[in-house]
Symmetry: C2
Subunit: 386 residues, 2 copies
């Protein structure tokens, strides 16, 4: 029911005497003495194009054309319209415009897990910059990692007739969810909507900015092996996230190339706390400790670093630690974290560019691969006793 959404407010439709709202009184009084009936209209109506046209002494159509410049309008008329618009402080009603013109409106939707997370904040920042350049407005949605919310947002964005929808962050490897998402996206695309994603699984048939998670993790593994490590653990995230799966697989591959088997994988939430907890678990577990730990995201790595410090484990002397993403903070912690660097802001710019570019041919989707660069910093070193 709609009820939950609108709540009890559904009732009031008549503003009745309330028309003379406190704020409106002094400000609207200066108007001409209007017929009482006319008064019933919106309290503080917006300036409409109609008013501008009247003020300028031209027709509605001419006013529209003068302001939008779609067709030639005589210079003097154009001037009059512009002046009138300025005088009245006219601001076009974007909804009316969107409704009347076939032209898509100027908003794009951006759906991420959480803007508070530096990874998404970085990408979002890139999107914002690119959007600003093209005079686009961005509707940002944080799903807080609830799959259902993500779909609900796509739906809302569809309702807004957003020009493009950007999905940032792993999709969920869940059959039902994928189907539902697809059911939401397909009609959108068919109706001319653009969709582009960052970090989705490649099976999605949409334009994609795809970090080379697998290759990146593999080459990180190689670098760590080169430092002398043989005994690894991974602090992993929710396995249903494709990013996690890819990075884990890549890391395993990289180790396997040197004949090394990954001993231990500890799973945690995709957050700082998740990393912290996972690291604690790792330390608590008996047996020989690994000499090197790879957290699948920097955010988790930061949490893990804190946990290690608290436990008195020196990094990198006692244990090396590496992350993935290269969010800004990893350069500030001590020791600074070794990681696989992804150009976050740039990825944001790319994904919106991808979405806005002329559509790829029938059913074809473009994939922009982003290479991750291994950056060795202070958090990794030779294994203890070597």
């Amino acid at each position: 029911m709609t009820a939950p959404a609108h709540g009890q407010e559904v009732v009031p439709k008549f503003r009745g005497p309330a028309t003379t709202a406190p704020l409106g009184v002094e400000l609207s009084e200066r108007e001409t003495p209007v017929h009482p009936e006319t008064r019933r209209r919106a309290p503080a109506a917006h300036v409409t194009l109609d008013a501008v046209a009247r003020e300028a002494g031209v027709s509605l159509a001419t006013a529209s054309r003068a302001l939008n410049g779609t067709t030639r309008v005589r210079d003097d008329l154009r001037g009059r319209v512009r002046a009138a618009a300025d005088l009245l402080g006219y601001i076009p009603n974007a909804h009316a415009q969107a409704l009347a013109s076939a032209e898509g409106n100027r908003t794009v939707g951006l759906i991420c897990h959480d803007v508070g997370d530096p990874y998404f904040a970085g990408i979002a920042s890139g999107v914002m910059r690119a959007a600003a350049e093209q005079d686009l407005l961005v509707m940002l949605a944080s799903t807080f990692r609830e799959p259902a919310r993500e779909i609900a947002y796509v739906s809302m964005l569809r309702a807004q007739r957003a020009r493009a929808i950007l999905l940032i962050g792993s999709g969920f490897q869940d059959r039902a969810w994928e189907r539902a998402m697809d059911a939401e996206l397909e009609p959108y695309v068919r109706a001319g909507g653009r969709v582009a994603v960052v970090s989705r699984h490649r099976s999605m048939r949409v334009d994609t900015v795809q970090p080379e998670n697998r290759a990146g993790a593999a080459s990180l593994a190689a670098s760590l092996v080169e430092l002398g490590h043989r005994d690894f653990a991974v602090l992993s995230g929710p396995p249903e996230l494709t990013t996690v799966a890819d990075r884990l697989a890549g890391f395993r591959e990289g180790l396997a190339a040197s004949g090394i088997t990954l001993r231990r994988v500890v799973r945690g939430a995709f957050t700082r706390e998740g990393g912290h907890t996972a690291a604690c678990q790792l330390l608590a577990a008996g047996g020989a400790r690994p000499t090197c730990v790879f957290a699948v995201t920097d955010v988790m790595a930061v949490g893990a670093l804190a946990a290690l410090r608290e436990a008195g484990v020196r990094v990198p002397e006692d244990m090396s630690l590496a992350g993935f993403d290269d969010i800004p903070v990893v350069r500030e912690v001590s020791p600074p974290l070794t990681t696989v660097a992804l150009p976050l802001t740039e990825m944001g710019e790319q994904v919106i560019a991808l979405a806005l570019r002329t559509p790829s041919g029938a059913g074809r989707s473009r994939v922009l691969r982003i290479e991750g660069n291994v950056v060795l910093r202070g958090s990794t070193g030779a294994p203890p006793g070597s």
Copy 2:
């Protein structure tokens, strides 16, 4: 907004046969079995309420009412409409809705300097959470600190008929700018728009979430004096930002209470680099070094910390360092930064709540003061040689 419109479910819904195509199928070629009549409509047109009404065999008005629940509709009709909407995959056109109904639409605008900055990301995160709870969509804009862009965004948000506009971060103390901003905001408010701000100057006549910058900085100063420091420097930001002015003034006050005069203020950009550069300048300058440095924001403090480290200045042994805001990262650096903690996420929730709450009486604006708590961490200690 479709979910609320159709029913209680926020859960992914599986629509009729129109959406059952698996991922593998060619997107563009698929023919959905539709009624011939339905077919004659525009090729990729959206499903309209009209189509739903026809499918359900009721009038447009009834369909609207059935979906929105504004008026009682016979149960069987309501059911038919719901079914038809589901079958057709109907999604209301938010623009048409906004145009037709006096009810404001369900979007709010959020204007900040840069989502990439943890301070704003934190607040934005809070806003997002609150917005999600109320089924609101957030239009996020980053001004990248260009005053003109900020005004342009307000204008765009006005055009969108956003229900509320949230301004996060200092305004500019610039006469012309203030005037322009006011000219933009006043008609918006008069037309029923809501405005709420975080960290603006109190002279703005809008609902405000106001961190106690002055008091916070003063009590930080007191704490630092208590540690034994007598010789201070401040790494300050652009003086036209009210936040900077307040924190600086507060800090001075705090020192003055103990009869101490602030020796040096180095100005830098409001960024990590700004803090870094400012710190370098401070160190490069001749004369006795201060024993304690206060950076007006944590972001700058983090940059300063890096600069100090690079210069071989030990913190806090050689020099103490403090910031303001308590962004998440300051807990991760070493030493963790002393700062004045602000509940960022909460402030985000508050500011949107403030904006959405029933308007305050004629011209009155509410101010929600947020106290900052001094948190002493490892970056501050006794002055050297004491």
